[in-house]
């Protein structure tokens, strides 16, 4: 495994280097700059220029890039232009919210996705399959924000069972915190689950026709054992890849669900920093999102190798 990770290292570094250039240039292509945001719409040209100089935005681009990259390599992620606070502090303050939501949403996504997938890939009866297919299609057709809004109207406004606005960190009060977390996590989980279940269902159905399944059946293995020991295990590969991609997305910040449930995770921080042209913050958030995606892909490959002996990491 170590050899596998060492072999991957150069490509990871190359991806991160390319990302650093894109993350640096992309926000600067957009009109406006942080000085404009700070000065406000009624500012005079002199007021704006004075702020621009104080932020060092009047220096050549490559000087700004090298200064920033040098800082990042030394572990200094920079200071937010808009909030005047260190970027690492700003990200850390939002990290718990994003991790809590991503973890619980992943749990919901995996449970619902694999549950529906196994049901759809196992049931032989026509009505049963239709029920699972209908559930899958409905969930696939319903975007996360709509699921979120329906949950808000039903469980937060009509029957006020759960809070629908704001958050309390689990580290502060787990009992209250989980109540704030349930609906947004469920909305996210439900939105991501059907793509996993669809994939799993299809793979399981085709695996059921394989010879080793017939052999197990001939040897008298119970249907449950065939499903879970033989069919599910060998069918999980594609679902694991899909789960890996989805989990990576979730940890990058769930922008829309965070917005409608008024949670303050990394997704919202990214939106605010883009709107305010807070270059320093945008750059690190983009780098972070790419890093999380790369890491989740690595973990996916490790899990695949553990699940399927035919997959060799060192090959």
């Amino acid at each position: 495994m170590l050899r596998f990770l060492v072999k991957k290292l150069p490509s990871i570094l190359l991806v991160l280097f390319a990302t650093s250039i894109i993350a640096f240039l992309l926000p600067r292509f957009a009109p406006g700059d942080p000085a404009q945001t700070i000065a406000g719409p009624d500012a005079t040209a002199e007021q704006t220029e004075a702020i621009r100089q104080s932020l060092g935005l009047d220096r050549p681009l490559f000087v700004q890039y090298l200064t920033w990259l040098g800082g990042v390599l030394r572990g200094h992620l920079g200071t937010s232009y808009i909030f005047n606070r260190s970027v690492s502090d700003l990200i850390l303050s939002r990290m718990e919210s994003t991790i809590e939501l991503a973890v619980l949403a992943s749990v919901f996504m995996i449970l619902i996705g694999i549950g529906l997938g196994v049901l759809g890939g196992s049931t032989r009866s026509r009505p049963g399959r239709m029920a699972v297919d209908t559930a899958n299609t409905l969930l696939l057709a319903t975007p996360a924000f709509l699921v979120g809004l329906l949950l808000i109207v039903l469980l937060g406004v009509t029957w006020r069972l759960l809070p629908v606005s704001g958050e309390v960190p689990l580290s502060e009060n787990p009992e209250i915190g989980i109540q704030y977390l349930l609906l947004p996590a469920l909305a996210l989980g439900l939105a991501h689950a059907p793509s996993i279940s669809r994939l799993l269902q299809t793979t399981m159905r085709s695996t059921r026709g394989e010879e080793f399944v017939d052999l197990a059946r001939a040897k008298g293995a119970s249907p449950r054992r065939i499903t879970f020991r033989h069919v599910l295990r060998t069918s999980l590969g594609a679902a694991v890849v899909a789960i890996g991609i989805r989990v990576g997305e979730l940890f990058g910040g769930a922008i829309i669900i965070e917005a409608i449930f008024a949670r303050n995770g990394l997704g919202q921080l990214a939106v605010q920093s883009v709107n305010a042209r807070d270059y320093q913050l945008v750059q690190i958030l983009v780098m972070g999102a790419v890093l999380v995606a790369v890491l989740s892909q690595l973990v996916t490959e490790l899990i695949l190798a553990a699940l399927d002996p035919r997959v060799r990491l060192d090959a």
Binding site: P31, D42, A45, F83, V157, S165, Q179, A262, Q272
Partner: protein, 515 residues
């Protein structure tokens, strides 16, 4: 046997999970009840928490400028020398009294005694001088007024004299804006780490882009506030803001979507509070055809159906006026409000006479929802009279950038906050009117009329000067006031005794909340 045990473990885990989930929903502590209870306070003397949902983040680094994000908290932590009452007459706050010299070239201010900063340090005239100096360097809309001071002389611990070379009739607009900051901790404003004023609430914490908390200042020089604390939740998403108010998490919503405001207005548990609004101008560039011709500019005024725009886009918040001044401001020339009536036939005739019929008119529009809606009706109105307008929507940041650079093009639609300011201040703070405006308009007569307004020494003289200036602006038609819209905040009826200053800042020192 092992299989049975395994199944039993799985079942136990499922049951335990379900129980945990049920407990979390129906268990000892309910987050929903906690949210409702947090605003409890049956009488004014009781404790309570006021929660405010607002679309913009707070900006401690810009506390001296007018910013929507600061409307909820700044006037609760900081105080000004004076504050306008409902009649826009300055009333004492940190200043106990003041006297304008007979030659109107200085004002002597005596401060209230016994006022301390929240750090415990007494507030003195030196702090006022420091704050005024600090304001000059800020991006405040009224910084230009402070730049006219020739000196600020501290004459005693609680007395100072501000001198100027020309009379400054709008000095109380400056006082309304100039929060007195603590010179020892002013650097903490940059990142919000130390925010210290003299107000009834202490600035406890700020999580940028997320939430800020104020707590009662038990050592406040005035009557003690009722509320324990004020929580400000930054909620950018309009749906989330609506949810926050409907689910009783927040008692006040600042910056709510106008469509949602209309729906909340019909809810008996809420009221809508009107505050100082905004003006939506259509700027016309005098250096580019067809607006280099006066007749073409005036024709645009006749072409615009202001009443339709006000009603259709802003409903009850829409104000139909041809002027860029706040209708409640002193000397407002009401008789000029409807100078140009909607008359497309006349507009068409004037455009033909000016040889402008069929001219392409690119209109740069700031990309805010209301602006683009207003622009669509303006486009249609201009098409009806024979022009060929093309809307070019620019994102806010990009628009501001080219506005400051003075490169908005032939026609443009910015958005200006009136911020409770009088005409004598607005003529220098509004980008559409001040020197260097994007219409490229400036004449000696315009300068003279502006000077006359500043030199007016009585209310009657001020009204006359403002009338003449307004008439000139309307005649020259370099900027067309399309519509004004009042600011609107949604307030739950469970929140009482909230005071909104003339610049729409919340003062919650007497506020309390109940169910």
């Amino acid at each position: 046997m092992r299989e049975v045990q395994r199944r039993s473990r799985v079942r136990s885990a499922v049951v335990a999970g379900a129980v945990a989930l049920a407990l979390s929903v129906t268990g000892c502590q309910s987050a929903v009840k906690q949210q409702e209870a947090s605003s409890a306070g049956a009488k004014p003397t009781d404790v309570g928490v006021l929660t405010i949902a607002q679309a913009s983040d707070i900006q401690p680094n810009n506390v001296l400028a007018g910013r929507l994000g600061n409307a909820s908290w700044a006037a609760n932590v900081f105080e000004t020398l004076t504050r306008y009452d409902d009649q826009r007459k300055p009333q004492p706050l940190l200043a106990k009294e003041w006297k304008v010299a007979d030659d109107k070239l200085s004002i002597s201010v005596t401060l209230r005694e016994g006022v301390t900063f929240q750090s415990g340090r007494p507030m003195t005239a030196d702090d006022v001088k420091f704050s005024l100096d600090h304001l000059v360097k800020s991006s405040s809309q009224v910084a230009f007024i402070a730049k006219k001071f020739s000196s600020v002389d501290v004459t005693g611990p609680t007395t100072l004299t501000i001198r100027f070379s020309k009379p400054i009739p709008n000095i109380f607009d400056l006082f309304e804006y100039a929060f007195i900051v603590d010179k020892d901790s002013v650097k903490g404003l940059a990142d919000g780490s130390k925010v210290i004023g003299t107000g009834p609430f202490l600035f406890k914490s700020w999580s940028p882009g997320s939430e800020a908390q104020l707590v009662r200042n038990d050592k406040y020089w005035g009557p003690k506030p009722h509320l324990d604390s004020i929580t400000i939740a930054v909620i950018n998403d309009s749906t989330a803001m609506l949810n926050a108010v409907r689910s009783n998490r927040s008692q006040i919503a600042i910056g709510m979507n106008p469509v949602d405001i209309q729906s909340m207005a019909s809810n008996s548990a809420f009221s809508v509070v009107n505050t100082s609004g905004s003006v939506y101008p259509l700027g016309l560039n005098l250096t580019q055809p067809p607006f280099d011709k006066l007749e073409a500019r005036q024709a645009v005024n006749y072409a615009i159906d202001r009443a339709r725009i006000a009603k259709q886009i802003f409903g009850a918040a829409g104000v139909v006026t041809d002027l860029l001044w706040d209708p409640t401001s002193p000397g407002y020339p009401k008789d000029l409000e409807q100078r140009y009536t909607y008359d497309p036939a006349k507009a068409k005739q004037m455009l033909t006479a000016a040889g402008a019929e069929g001219t392409a008119v690119p209109i740069t529009v700031i990309g805010l929802p209301q602006n683009t809606s207003v622009a669509e009706i303006v486009r249609r109105n201009l098409e009806e009279v024979g022009l060929k307008p093309v809307i070019k929507v620019q994102e806010t940041q990009g628009f501001d950038q080219i506005q400051i650079a003075g490169k908005l093009g032939t026609a443009f639609m910015p958005l200006h906050g009136l911020n409770g300011l009088g005409a004598s201040t607005l003529m220098d703070s509004l980008p559409s009117l001040r020197r260097g405006n994007s219409s490229k308009f400036w004449t000696d007569e315009y300068q003279a009329l502006r000077n006359n307004l500043l030199a007016a020494d009585t209310d009657a003289a001020y009204a006359t000067a403002l009338h003449k200036l307004s008439e000139y602006i309307l005649d020259q038609a370099f900027t067309v006031a399309v519509v004004q819209a009042l600011g609107q905040n949604v307030v739950a009826k469970s929140a009482h005794e909230l005071t909104w200053t003339s610049r729409s800042y919340l003062d919650a020192k007497s506020a309390y909340v109940d169910h």
